[in-house]
């Protein structure tokens, strides 16, 4: 299951991307319009800024804005920052690989190959969709 953190983060990015012009958007406005706890959203925005998706302006009239155009922000990148690995098992993760404690040999693990297939199909979707794509609705 997708965490609320990721879901809210994607909604916030979408909200910002849908605004006209490049004026900074306030957390308060996003939280209100998307029904998200403002304090929780604050910490999510911070992650997105530190990851390079968002820039911020402090003080009155400040807020957040996209640092890249929406069609340059792949869903898979955002997911990896907010959700972590795309794969369903650490042992099939490309960016967060870890051995499984219980497996003596990944090559003979029957679950392993299945989860590689799932990963590749999920990746295909997340690589091919950008922020620009998902706000087309």
């Amino acid at each position: 299951m997708l965490s609320k953190k990721t879901k809210y983060g994607l909604k916030a990015l979408s909200y910002i991307a849908r605004q006209e012009g490049n004026e900074p958007v306030q957390i308060g406005a996003i939280a209100k319009n998307e029904n998200i706890s403002q304090k929780f959203l604050e910490s999510i925005m911070l992650s997105l800024r530190k990851a390079g998706f968002l820039g911020s302006k402090k003080g009155k009239g400040g807020g957040y804005y996209l640092r890249r155009s929406a069609d340059q922000i792949k869903m898979v990148e955002v997911m990896r920052i907010l959700e972590g690995p795309v794969a369903m098992l650490p042992c099939v993760s490309l960016n967060f690989y870890e051995r499984c404690a219980d497996c003596p040999d990944e090559g003979t693990c029957s679950v392993h190959s299945l989860m590689i297939q799932v990963r590749d199909n999920t990746l295909k979707v997340l690589e091919n969709n950008t922020l620009a794509d998902i706000i087309q609705d």
Copy 2:
């Protein structure tokens, strides 16, 4: 991330499917060979039996056996029993649907359509793989 419960369940089913003949297989043997806590595995086997994948024989010489041939057990069925929904959001789940509290309208939610794509691609893999497929390694 896949829960240990699901992973262990799949490994246990694979282990049983790989045995010659239809002799019941003991939890103890599975736990030992697959490095799984025996007590934990007990509860998982119980779920799999109640879901109809396994039959059991009690008492000395008892154990678990497949109730259907391995090529008749789709991965998606096992996943739904052990892991729950395939979808990453309740609002795009076919078998475990729930509204999202924060969405006034699913039709205009940008995350919704993305997660439908992910779901469909994951489903494709899990529908097309059976227990027989994943033990071919």
